[in-house]
């Protein structure tokens, strides 16, 4: 059976499953719509959190980045998992005890201030919105590559599905679809990894195959072999990094604190019944996430070996099907610098500028002609990093059903994250903005109706961003973490661990952290991109890692302002004492 038929089959089956779950788990009350009635089992919540968290970036892009960056890719591996330790130890149990619906709820109540609540609402919507636009693009890419439908059609189909279960089911519907989506995406990620690990190392467990010997009779460890191959071709050895230690440190810290401060992840811990469930649930979530995150570097190493072995010194005229198909999609390019008809894959950029710009017409060997100047060095091959996960099963010549499975997995990853983000945005609007600020008199039924309307509008807005992508949105996604780290993380943390922390300090801290981080990013990314290199960065910290410095400034400003201004009212101090203890108790002021 053809790849295309199987892809339709798998995607159709998985969509039918998601819709079935949505119908079965409709929400009738705001409590169910916002936090699934707080009745979710901790294991189910762990799986839902994992699917919520692992986006198109984790599933489609991460292994590709590691494949080309090697050791430097560790910042994503550690950064996007280490945050769960912070979440489990410092935030989740206390926010669960607080038992409201949203992050702005906590900030508004803890800092007895409508301004703080509004600042939080704006941050939630901004962070979630930039993030969701990336997911919708991911949906579009999967559809257009595999089903050969128009990218816009893909986005519209994706929107329709999310619309159905997010608007109808709210958090309850989303939670159970996310559990199903986790199963689909992890199966789709592990199956090809297992096959490829068996082929290369004879070890069926890809996480261990990564550290095993090659199955080619050489008895060499896979990573040594890969280091040898990469060095031979004039590339940075796979297990060596290019980034400076200080930059790695700051980026990893920003990703960790940002993860712990992301509203759509935090809200998942409001859905379990008890404080102790919130603690263990973070542990289950990390196990589910680690299954993919410990496989990703293995997939990356396997892919790099397979690409080098299959492509370097290959005659273009005999290029495999996948190579020409991705070239036709504009994600692979070959510039025959020495006119020998062979593909030389070496270190350095093949093209200048690095992204291919195609001309019409074909070269002598049948390759697409390029408008780019040749890059320095002998490298003739450009490969887009985002295609690695999708193309690898074909590169390794795995059966068609596995190729189709990966497409369904990528969609599951993108849709589950999009749904979680859309729900957080709609909750912020109907609950935090309307009910708590603008229209406190609305009743439960009206609030639920506003929540559904807001979810519907958010789906449509996200879809439009997928169809008409704004360049800046794509750029900013990577920085959502830095902004979350510099704004939410310190305020929530100090709000729990210091009874003295007050309104003035929280607002001053958030404004400082956000303004600094935002300006630094905007300066290097948009105002003076030509200065965006290590020589001009503050202390050698790239815009990707600057959120950590913003976070430290937020902490410093908060701690100083807190001492110069009056302590919070007694009932707020009592609230803090109360959320620190799991048992429900009478407190006496």
């Amino acid at each position: 059976m053809s790849v295309q038929f199987l892809t339709y089959l798998f995607i159709g089956l998985s969509f039918a499953l998601y819709i079935g779950i949505a119908i079965w788990s409709r929400s009738a009350t705001t409590n169910e719509f916002y936090v699934a009635g707080s009745h979710v089992h901790p294991v189910a919540n762990g799986a839902a959190t994992a699917a919520d968290w692992m986006s198109a970036a984790s599933f489609l892009s991460m292994a590709g980045i590691i494949a080309f960056e090697g050791a430097d890719g560790a910042r994503y591996l550690m950064g996007w998992t280490g945050g769960y330790v912070l979440l489990a130890l410092l935030l989740a149990p206390y926010l669960r005890k607080f038992s409201k619906f949203t992050v702005p709820d906590f900030i508004g109540d803890r800092y007895y201030s409508q301004i703080a609540r509004l600042v939080a609402v704006v941050c939630v919507i901004f962070i979630s919105f930039t993030y969701v636009a990336g997911q919708m693009r991911g949906v579009g890419i999967v559809f257009s590559r595999f089903l050969e439908v128009d990218i816009n059609m893909g986005v519209i189909i994706g929107m329709a599905i999310v619309f159905f279960y997010a608007v109808l089911g709210g958090m309850k519907g989303i939670t159970y679809t996310q559990v199903a989506q986790y199963c689909v995406l992890i199966f789709a990620y592990l199956v090809p990894a297992i096959f490829i690990s068996l082929m290369l190392t004879g070890n069926p467990v890809p996480m261990l195959g990564f550290g095993s010997t090659m199955d080619d009779g050489s008895g060499m460890y896979l990573l040594d072999k890969l280091d040898g191959l990469t060095s031979e071709l004039g590339m940075t050895a796979f297990t060596e990094g290019n980034k400076s230690t200080v930059d790695m440190f700051f980026i990893t810290a920003a990703l960790m604190a940002g993860t712990a401060g992301l509203p759509h992840v935090i809200v998942r811990f409001f859905t379990v019944p008890k404080v102790r469930d919130a603690r263990i649930s973070a542990g289950y979530a990390l196990i589910f996430i680690a299954l993919l995150y410990t496989t990703a570097p293995a997939v990356a190493a396997f892919a790099r070996i397979n690409i080098i072995n299959n492509v370097d010194s290959m005659e273009y005229a005999e290029a495999p099907n996948w190579f020409t198909r991705w070239e036709n999609s504009g994600l692979i390019a070959w510039l025959d610098k020495n006119n020998d008809g062979l593909v030389q894959y070496r270190g350095g950029a093949a093209l200048a500028p690095t992204k291919p710009v195609y001309e019409t017409g074909r070269g002598e060997s049948g390759q697409r002609m390029l408008d780019n100047e040749p890059g320095a060095g002998e490298n003739e091959l450009y490969i887009d990093r985002d295609i690695i996960v999708l193309a690898h099963p074909e590169i390794a010549a795995l059966p068609n059903w596995i190729v189709a499975l990966v497409a369904a997995g990528g969609l599951a990853a993108a849709l589950s994250t999009a749904a979680g983000l859309l729900l957080v945005m709609s909750t912020s609007i109907s609950h935090d903005l309307l009910k708590k600020c603008l229209m406190p008199s609305i009743n439960e039924r009206q609030e639920l109706m506003f929540a559904r309307t807001a979810a519907a509008l958010a789906v449509i807005a996200a879809g439009l961003l997928g169809i008409y992508p704004l360049g800046f949105v794509v750029q900013v996604v990577a920085f959502a973490f830095g902004l979350a780290a510099a704004s939410f993380f310190p305020v929530i943390l100090l709000g729990i661990f210091s009874t003295r922390m007050n309104r003035e300090a929280a607002i001053a801290g958030m404004v400082t952290g956000l303004t600094f981080t935002f300006s630094y990013i905007v300066f290097f990314k948009f105002i003076s991109p030509e200065l965006n290199n290590a020589d001009h960065w503050l202390f050698g910290i790239s815009p990707e890692g600057i959120g950590t410095l913003g976070m430290l400034m937020n902490f410093a400003v908060s701690l100083v302002v807190m001492r110069l201004t009056p302590p919070p009212p007694r009932e707020v101090q009592a609230l803090v004492e109360q959320i620190r203890v799991p048992k429900k108790q009478e407190y006496h002021g």
């Binding site: 590691i66 050791a71 890719g73 560790a74 591996l77 550690m78 998992t81 280490g82 769960y84 330790v85 489990a88 130890l89 410092l90 149990p93 996480m207 990564f210 550290g211 095993s212 010997t213 460890y221 896979l222 990573l223 040594d224 297990t239 990094g241 230690t245 790695m248 440190f249 990893t252 810290a253 008890k274 404080v275 102790r276 603690r279 263990i280 973070a282 542990g283 990390l286 196990i287 680690a290 995150y293 410990t294 570097p297 661990f497 004492e577 620190r580 203890v581 799991p582 048992k583 429900k584 108790q585 009478e586 407190y587």
Partner: protein
């Protein structure tokens, strides 16, 4: 706030700080700061520093959360603040 709750909170903070020092050690220290030094040692097919940064730290993170859950459940029971207890 009662003294009982005070000592519960202190024990909780001590536990968090000790677990977070391990968290810092396996990721930031072993995976980033001294990664080149550790890379001269082998751990099966990996260079040791590389292993910490790409796989090992993640395994430690999981262990840390489960140790925390286990210790906190005991701490809750010892201090009589378990949410199942009746006041």
């Amino acid at each position: 706030m009662s003294d009982k709750n005070d000592s519960y909170w202190r024990a909780n903070v001590v536990l968090i700080l000790s677990l977070l020092s391990v968290w810092f050690l396996v990721s930031f220290v072993c995976g980033i700061l001294i990664v080149d030094f550790l890379d001269q040692f082998r751990f099966f097919g990996y260079k040791l520093g590389f292993w910490f940064s790409q796989q090992g730290s993640i395994l430690f993170f999981i262990i840390l959360i489960f140790v925390y859950v286990w210790r906190m459940n005991r701490l809750d029971a010892d201090h009589g603040v378990d949410e199942d207890d009746q006041a």
